[in-house]
Amino acid sequence: MKKIFILTLLMGISATCLFAQAKKTVKKPVKKPAAPVRGLTSSIAAGKKVYTLYCVSCHQLDGGGVQNLNPPLIKTTYVLGNKGKLAKIVLNGFNDNVEIDGNTYSNTMPPLNILKDQEIADVLTYVRNSFGNKASAVTVAEVKKARASK
């Protein structure tokens, strides 16, 4: 099940790559092809799959979290603020006593550094553009930087 998912993900990435490169050669033939940057829509779609695998059991389908345990991902500064900090929460896990709107949350979030940069970029882009959130995409470069600065 998971293997199939990873396979589809890889296929998806390579397809996007090819597409992006093809597009680029037509429009800007001079610029050499950079690391693939996904369009917002495809990043959100890929991110949703990552969310379903790794995040949903705690943060829930609606991103609302669980009372006293798992913080909500809806319109919080953690989610909408600094993208590097956000990526580091995913990479390092989170054990701070979060207070959001007067409520505290104290469950353990494990480090998810097994996820690829692309997967983290996608899932954060998904979270920042779901559950009523609207914020800029998180790029692979931003995740890479966060991982390096660990």
Binding site: S57, L61, D62, V66, N97, M109
Partner: protein, 433 residues
């Protein structure tokens, strides 16, 4: 259809009861006034067996956890977090059973509260206090409790300290494990269990202390039972003179070992277990969990299990097992006389409701009745009070309007239920003659 029938049969009853209440002279303390408590027209939104009714006794607007009701009808509610600096609310009921918040005290949050021998016991997440009561069961000095137990372990998970007392001067305190399954990295994919789980020295069990000795710490207490991940609902069974607890089973079998468990299996497993405890028992956490489908004690995957291998060790069996993640937060043996005979000495269990079933639908947010015979669970459990969530959709999404948590029995035999989402206090009565 059935709901309609109940509704139509209750409306005239209600009207009658209403007239009766209006015409009868008002008594100063309504609680001995049995048989005149009229349920709310909509049974407070709950679905109940035929003949039962419910009313909203009070709206506290706070995270109402465990609850006690004194013989003269005073209600004490422990709050998860203090509201306006008060962690315990005192509610006074009128003749119709409606209660208002009279006062509050105790600047600490927590879950545990218990009434015994004219003392009110209450816990923070690290300590247990007791307050002397006067003849009217009022706390004599709310600002000067005796500190009975101090220095209890509190991690970032399962912090609450539920309490109950026996009839021999002992208090039992749950110290929940500050971990899901004692992995090297808590809740991480494929992280294995720590050999000889070190958490168990000071948590993951029930500790016994003296009920009247001040400032006790671990060294003054006894680790009464070990291998219990977290207990919120517990009660002393007076028939058997024995402690019964409801364990919150481990989370995330699929998240941590996706190759062994599907999301569907992970939603139902492991069981939420009822244990009848004896001193020295080991219920097996984190080395095993109970699988209510295979009816077996299964070795935890963190400790070499594969979902099928049976546990190795001297671990007790549960006396009853319920579907996974329903979160049993309240346990009460019913000893009252108001409800029909079948409920006598049986157990009510408040299942707060699951969160760890995602992406599968959530379940719970109901009060279950477990029939008992001769001190043992006898026959299938049944949902006694349902629809705390408001709608089936809200129950399935986990966004319940209300989540049942604490249970208490009134002097007249009515059953009180707290809700820690909106702070509603319900009272369930039996009205069929």
């Amino acid at each position: 259809m059935k709901k309609k029938l109940i509704f139509t049969s209750i409306v005239p009853l209600l009207a009658l009861a209403g007239i009766f209440v209006l015409c009868s002279p008002k008594k100063s303390s309504g609680l001995e006034n049995t048989g005149t408590i009229a349920p709310d027209a909509n049974n407070a939104g709950l679905k109940l067996p035929d003949g039962f009714g419910a009313e909203v006794t009070a709206e506290t607007g706070a995270q109402a956890r465990h609850i006690v009701v004194t013989p003269n009808g005073l209600i004490y509610v422990k709050l998860a977090r203090p509201k306006d600096g008060k962690g315990i609310l005192v509610l006074q009921q009128d003749a119709n059973g409606k209660a208002t918040v009279k006062s509050g005290f105790g600047n600490y949050g927590g879950t545990g509260i218990y009434l015994k021998n004219r003392y009110l016991y209450a816990s923070s997440n690290q300590e247990v206090f007791r307050y002397k009561l006067n003849a009217q069961n009022e706390v004599i000095d709310p600002n000067a409790p005796e500190k009975i137990i101090t220095g209890l372990k509190m991690g970032r998970e399962h912090e609450t300290k539920s309490i109950t007392l026996d009839n021999d001067g002992n208090i039992y305190v749950n110290v929940g494990a500050y971990s899901n399954s004692c992995q090297e990295v808590d809740r991480q994919l494929h992280s294995m269990g720590i050999k000889g789980c070190p958490i168990l020295d000071s948590a993951g069990g029930i500790w016994q202390f003296k009920a009247d000795k001040p400032n006790q710490t671990y060294k003054d207490g006894v680790r009464y039972t070990t291998g219990l991940r977290n207990v919120v609902g517990l009660d002393w069974n007076i028939q058997l003179n024995q402690l019964f607890v409801m364990q919150h089973g481990r989370d995330q079998l699929h998240d941590i070992f996706p190759e062994m468990y599907t999301t569907q299996q992970s939603a139902l497993l492991p069981a939420e277990c009822m244990y009848a405890l004896k001193k020295g028992d080991n219920a097996g956490w984190p080395y095993m969990y109970y699988d209510q489908i295979q009816h077996k004690k299964i070795m935890a995957p963190e400790y070499g299990g594969d979902g099928k291998k049976e546990a190795v060790g001297n671990f007790i069996d549960p006396v009853a097992a319920y579907p996974g993640h329903l979160a049993p937060n309240g346990l009460l043996f019913y000893t009252g006389n108001m409800f029909p005979e079948k409920y006598k000495n049986g157990a009510f269990i408040a299942f707060h409701g699951s969160w760890n079933r995602s992406p599968e639908p959530q379940a719970g947010a109901f009060v279950v009745f477990q029939p008992f015979k001769n001190g043992k669970p006898d026959g299938d459990w049944e949902i006694f009070a349902d629809n705390f969530a408001g709608t089936p959709q809200k129950a399935a999404s986990g966004r319940a309007d209300h989540k049942p948590c604490g249970l208490a029995q009134g002097a007249d035999g009515s059953l009180y239920v707290t809700d820690d989402v909106k702070g509603t206090v319900y009272r369930i009565t039996y009205n069929k003659k």
